[in-house]
């Protein structure tokens, strides 16, 4: 009794994958298996040539329209706030500058410098945290 090739073997052959020698020999002589192989080959070829699906709109344009606009590295709002803060500090120094000298006279220079550095770090950290939080919120809103 002749053992014909299995569907798995036929699919491998239609895919141009190597087959065991015995299967190749059988395929060479068996018209039934040749016909079954041809059916798979035709199916694979026809599938590969099917038209690709496509949307009726421009997907790239639709996606780009939903992306967040690129923002300047230093938003103008923050710039305005910085100018205002500097203005207030400047006005304070001009108005009460004369009274600040005696206040700091009692402090040792090293301690004062240390405090100033720590205060600077705290302020900078807070500002960065604020900016990061703002960006997170904008991102969440954009993608919600």
């Amino acid at each position: 009794m002749t053992l014909h090739l299995s569907d798995a073997d036929l699919q491998l052959a239609a895919d141009a994958a190597p087959l065991p020698a015995a299967a190749v020999a059988h395929l060479h002589d068996c018209r039934r298996c040749q016909a079954r192989l041809a059916a798979y080959q035709q199916l694979f070829a026809a599938t590969a040539h099917l038209p690709q699906p496509a949307f009726e709109f421009d997907l790239a344009a639709a996606v780009l329209a939903q992306l967040p606009r690129s923002k300047p590295a230093f938003p103008w709002v923050l710039g305005l706030v910085a100018v205002l803060v500097l203005g207030v500090v400047g006005a304070f120094v001009v108005l009460f500058g004369g009274m600040l000298g005696p206040v700091f006279q009692g402090l040792q220079t090293g301690l004062g410098a240390g405090l100033a550095v720590v205060a600077g770090f705290v302020v900078a950290g807070q500002a960065l945290e604020l900016l990061a939080r703002h960006r997170r919120q904008i991102r969440l809103l954009t993608f919600s």
Binding site: D7, A8, Q11, A35, R36, A38, A39, Y40, Q42, L43, F44, A45, A46, T47, A48, H49, L50, P51, Q52, P53, A54, F55, F57, L59, A60, A61, A62, V63, L64, Q66, L67, P68, R69, S70, R139, F143
Partner: protein, 204 residues
């Protein structure tokens, strides 16, 4: 320095440009991968009205997670992975089945080819180039593929139409290589048997 994308710009360069704030370069990345994403969305999402939203959601997720992509795989494979998972999430939300394992076995092969015409293919002189223009064959085959479960449709499309390797398909679907091969084998066998059950071919 100009950052205008050209056809020769690599995916990696485009990603760097997008991360640098040039969102226009993202359009180029979309155009390079939309064939794969569209194929996945069309094969996995049966309702046409939902497909545009799902496809756009895929790219918004890609954009959002772009900084986390470190080119461990091809960019297109990663986008395919995002698309597959997004479609999967959609199917879960809608409680749809990706592959119905309780499906009855295909018809007895001995019954193959005994039903009425039209003929599926032209015979031994079949020429794939001619088939390109054979709208009847294309529509019969498309309709038969549409009747398959979503995962089978998807695997056939990825392997035969997108010409992806088993490894790439395994990465996209997070299935083991062997499972991909097994499902693809079953999908093609089922497709052939269903076609033969409804369309005659004399030499089978």
């Amino acid at each position: 320095m100009s950052h205008s994308p050209t056809p020769h710009t690599t995916d990696q360069q485009l990603v760097a440009q997008v991360l640098g704030g040039n969102t226009a370069s993202f359009g180029q990345l979309v155009r390079r991968t939309e064939g794969l994403v569209t194929q996945l969305v069309f094969k996995m999402i049966r309702h046409p009205a939902d497909r545009p939203d799902v496809a756009q959601e895929v790219y918004l997720k890609v954009f959002k997670n772009l900084a986390g992509f470190k080119f461990q795989a091809k960019f297109s494979t990663w986008v395919g992975q995002v698309a597959y998972n997004t479609c999967l999430h959609y199917l879960e939300k809608k409680q749809l089945v990706l592959v119905d394992l309780s499906e009855p076995p295909p018809d007895d092969p001995s019954e193959e080819g005994r039903r009425a015409p039209p003929t599926l293919v032209a015979g031994p002189d079949y020429d794939p180039e001619t088939a390109l223009f054979d709208q009847d064959l294309a529509s019969i085959l498309s309709a038969a593929i549409e009747q398959l479960p979503p995962l089978y449709r998807t695997l056939i499309a990825l392997y035969h139409q997108q010409e992806l390797s088993y490894e790439e398909i395994a990465q996209i679907t997070s299935l083991p290589d062997g499972t991909v091969k097994n499902y693809l084998f079953r999908a093609r066998k089922l497709l052939k048997q269903r076609l033969l059950a409804t369309h005659q071919r004399d030499d089978l």
